[in-house]
Symmetry: D2
Subunit: 402 residues, 4 copies
């Protein structure tokens, strides 16, 4: 490791961060617990008002270039903002940079055709619609991406798609999905068999089977994970993104930054959980003179959480900086590293915060219960810890072979 | 540690265990996932059928003496049965030995007056009604039992009770509660201020405020935790259990065995989760020839889980045996030990089983999600880990002072 | 898991345990720290006196049958004694049941010829000589026992042995070694290629290259690990134990109980370290009124250690009992389980005890430093944790294949 | 957390780092294992040659200003160098920036009188002598610095010092010590009772009682920890550093950066241990085609170590930067954070590297055994983990009190 070059951050970034922080704390903190306790749809009018307010204040789309109606932040700058948004479970949604839409926007922006941009990208960027991304299949281990059963067969000018997907986040209420399907089963390399295709959700043959009950809750709309079915679902071949067989290449382009985005958001969650933990420790009285915070176990948790969150932030910022300088492909190792490291810090911080809250921490009267359930997936989605550790290790060990 | 005497187990215990196991596996396993996914009440008719069947087969009330209509098992023998029941989340309920009713039965059996037995204990033992236990208060740290705000003031022949309780498990649908309330605020020892009083839930002034949403779910009936209010709630002084000021003494009597019961049940959960984990590892294919179980991380989890579950079982059985020989008071250290030890094993085993299941482990399509949420409390209820560790340590260190 | 049958322990076992305990505490505790701080040889006269005293008191050879001059304890009974001996690093040595001699005695007792018994076993049993066991090779991964380079070629009536071994514990000062060497390289099964052969250490061609410096100390005599060389080392073919190709079978017979012996001893170490930790916590003052034990971190360590040691003991006793009932082969799973479980408990308990002692814990003024160094190997020797976990897991998963 | 300002690093730093790296790898790696296996003194001529070579190459004293004969690196720049030096256990010594001399140099440079500089500082800076620092006392808990028994009483123009210290690193062969002693026992604040005084080690009444055997080894010279005695040890009052009662203030000034220095060095150790681990994993064969590195457990350790070392480095660099910008006092929280965080990463990385090496990892044939023993103290010296966690937590919680 040598002294690495620095990227200069824009003037005014600290003030911009503070502006976001003020918005989030004054507008979102007062309602976010209610919103996630749901039903989500009943809050949509209120959330739409907040999205309008974000637009009016020029805070919408922090991730997009100015040309596209965004703030033109680079990835490192966005990392600072994203952490702030992550402190509220509705933060990214309000500012239109939530998964999976943010990933779909990036994909279409880089690889979409002109008409795809007009029909699908622009409405997303304006926040008029939502989309989803259909990759994982219930019958195939996600850790081996070559396992794909969904097929898209070109018949005339249309792809006919058949297959079943699940964990299609936000399918409920989305306007379209991007689906990963096998178009070239005979390709020599298994990595060149699949393609990505846009499917509007009102296409006949598309079916949202259910919002999968996840950790006790099926949710709805943006807060849902769909199990979906394609049955002879027919879309024009113009809906292909890029070229046939490019699916995995696009997935890699999409997933790398996607993992960084998760990590940024997780740090925001950690900070909010940490704040809840400290607050509780300082104010819960064991006896009239003795707050909970005098217990050394709790002091240990606070100190360890602080250390681990700081470590996480520095690693995520460093990774974002290096992506900025060297491109995502060159920092694959670092992306794997933060994916499993931060996911585990998140798990520990939430767990400790719950323990400090005692019985209250089990209830839905704090956000901790929401995150405890919704982020158990952090060590699984976009690659389980074990897959990232193995990938990182293999990459390191290559240098030792000769 | 010296060679400890053995307790002889009844002849026929292995066969009895097998009988319970067959019942649980053939009758409960096929429906328990649906039942806990709820709504619980819709399954009550079916569950009542099963309870009848348990009675017909002389399996009801394994914990009660034969005179009381039970099987007359001692605590050690019951431990073996309880583990089997714990493998299904409805096991203890079907056989009428579920918390908090089992604890209330013990309490009333030992300390209830004749009329309390007739009116409250016998219907419980017959499985005709359910009851609940109101101790924890939202505003007071449960780890210091002296913190109690609920009061019961004797006015004439009645106690007038005022206060708020929560985490009153199963309040929804229960016939009565036993409430812990301050009757003697002026007692010198803070441990002699409270009493236990029976309150039928149709008493005016009693109010079930809500089924507390816990980990995303408020549940109902037996699967619920109530927040309840006593507002000038008046009951005859005959509803006092034992004598005034005896509350803490009774609570100790009730909680010690209660903790062992939890541990027994947790081992059952561990075994079921372990079985799900192994099944998944053996049958989920990473590629046509390679099951998930060839991954060493998963082998590690299986081995570590096996070791920790075995350790838990042996400790719980040993504790049950020693309670049998020496009484619960004499084995306070061991009870604290298993409380935190087994709760942590439970946490780890469930977590690993989820990780092995990947995305499926997050859904409500397996029992893991239910336990992940419902048993996060295991490290909190009946005394958080930290309280038990401190108590155990203090007790050990006494021998080192001189 | 069903209710397991009990083995009856001999009358008088508690008293016998106490007799050993008194001996160990009164005779060994006062000198053991000095002895291990060495040089070991300078203490040999004193240790021999103690061994005589053990004989006089009929405490020598607790592991041997009465016919062989021992106490005739079964494995379960021995487990209780072995824990007591393990509390002193010289305990097993004084009573003549230390590794590797105990393993060699078992082997020769079961598989030795009459003349082998007279020449090698009987002097061992009388405590007149020491022996060693040469299996591990520096160039071959011990976790795969098929990797063996040492060869023994029959020429006329002699085996001619060539090869290099290391971690031959106690080679320095031993009278003979049992060596594992390939005699049948062409055997179909790799498990039938090696044999065990007795080599007196004064045989020409045998060389003790060095006492390997292990964790900063090469030690001497019984407290040493040899790197040894066989160069055309010639012994009569009568020195073969059992028949040719039986080496692995014998090794299995030898290693199974050997692992249980280690576990028993480790529990003794844990108890002594635990005692040191509690003593220090109770008596080290942070301020005139405040002992170290008021710190909750230390309370946590004491409680966790207590729980883990109890768990370890119960598992080891249960395993010993099952070996007694079913034979070592049938409880292979349990032996692997305790091997890694107890080794890890040992590591944690020693580490915590050191931390409680602060700087003093780093010095050689307590036994902790000795164990910290000498027992780092516990997770490695006789099979590293990872190998035992994999073996256990594979054995469990067999039941899930169909 | 807001976007923090950057410090510009000198041009040519990457090249300078590489120069140090080349020196360390080519000159120190080939001999350092032998040197630490000792006896240290026999290597002094060779080490002195290397120190000369370092001077000739203008690499001596990287921590000192150019005026003082150093390279004039700021703390952040030094952090990069220090990590490189830390990869060899003799790295800091060769370049004259080893503890405790580096701390004594800083102290005397900032607070020494002119004559103290001439007599004590300059010879240190030239590398002509070594010094030591006497603070810890065997009878007083180091975690409470107010516990000090050693006294220095002014009699005429001399301080007469009495007391016992231990863990006085490098006392054996040092020219002088700085001793912390109570000069003003009546001061109101316990933090104003002690002073720092220079004592040449040839002063009558000074006695090096022993090189304390630490983890099996008493060592000698630079690689030793002394237990020392002051018996009516008389030094001129000019040897007082600063003013009377300033002892704790000076200790704080000295310890803050000292802890950062340790962390930097530990990262170097981690990197070397990591390299040894990867090398072993890649080259140790389980079977002819299968290196150890194909085991997922080992992949996990490599990945986790990589993540934790990266996190450690980023935190240490960030702390060094902030000390540079805001001063050590303002970043007390961060210094406590890295002290316990990096010490624990160090412990884990060394332990994993040993496990990967198997039996070889236990021997003194690699550096791992040296670090395993010598760095067990990392979680104890300069404040045990628990003290730093408590301090950090208390500081954080202050913001929550109101």
């Amino acid at each position: 490791m040598h002294a690495s070059p620095n990227i200069s951050l824009r003037k005014g970034l600290p003030e911009l961060i503070q502006t976001y922080r003020d918005f989030v704390e004054s507008q979102l903190f007062p309602i976010d617990l209610q919103v996630v306790n749901g039903p989500f749809r009943s809050f949509l009018p209120q959330l739409n008002e907040l999205r309008k307010k974000a637009k009016l204040n020029n805070l919408f789309n922090p991730h997009l270039s100015e040309k596209e109606g965004g703030l033109g932040l680079n990835l490192l700058e966005f990392a600072y903002i994203s952490e702030v948004l992550g402190q509220s479970p509705i933060g990214h949604y309000i500012f239109n940079c939530h998964a999976p839409d943010i990933g779909n926007m990036e994909l279409l922006s880089h690889f979409g055709s002109d008409s795809q941009k007009v029909n699908f990208l622009h409405p997303l960027q304006k926040g008029e619609i939502r989309s989803c991304f259909a990759m994982t299949e219930p019958e195939n281990a996600g850790s081996n991406p070559v396992n794909l059963s969904t097929s898209a067969i070109l018949e005339g000018n249309d792809y006919v798609i058949n297959g079943r997907k699940w964990f299609t986040t936000g399918a409920d209420g989305a306007r379209f999905t991007i689906v990963m399907a096998v178009t070239n089963p005979e390709a020599t390399s298994p990595y060149e068999r699949a393609s990505m295709i846009i499917v509007p959700l009102d296409t006949p043959g598309f079916k949202l089977l259910r919002n999968i009950p996840v950790m006790g809750e099926s949710g709805e709309d943006y807060l849902s994970h769909g199990e979906i079915l394609f049955e002879n679902c027919q879309v024009p071949k113009e809906n292909l993104i890029g070229t046939e067989g490019m699916g995995f290449k696009l997935a890699q382009e999409r997933l790398g930054p996607g993992r960084i985005h998760h990590c940024m958001r997780w740090i925001g969650i950690c900070e909010r959980a940490f704040d809840l933990m400290c607050r509780r420790a300082a104010h819960r009285m064991l006896s009239p003179q003795k707050p909970l915070s005098e217990k050394q176990s709790i002091q240990n948790w606070i100190a360890e959480s602080r250390a681990e969150i700081n470590a996480s932030r520095l690693m995520v910022l460093d990774t974002a900086k290096n992506v900025q300088i060297h491109g995502a492909k060159a920092v694959k190792e670092e992306i794997s590293t933060i994916k499993f490291f931060v996911a585990n810090v998140l798990t520990k911080v939430i767990d400790r915060a719950i323990q400090v809250h005692g019985a209250l921490g089990l209830t839905d009267d704090t956000l901790l219960s929401f995150w405890y359930r919704h982020e158990r997936g952090a060590r699984i989605y976009d690659g389980p810890d074990e897959v990232h550790k193995a990938a990182l290790s293999r990459s390191i060990l290559k240098k030792y072979q000769s």
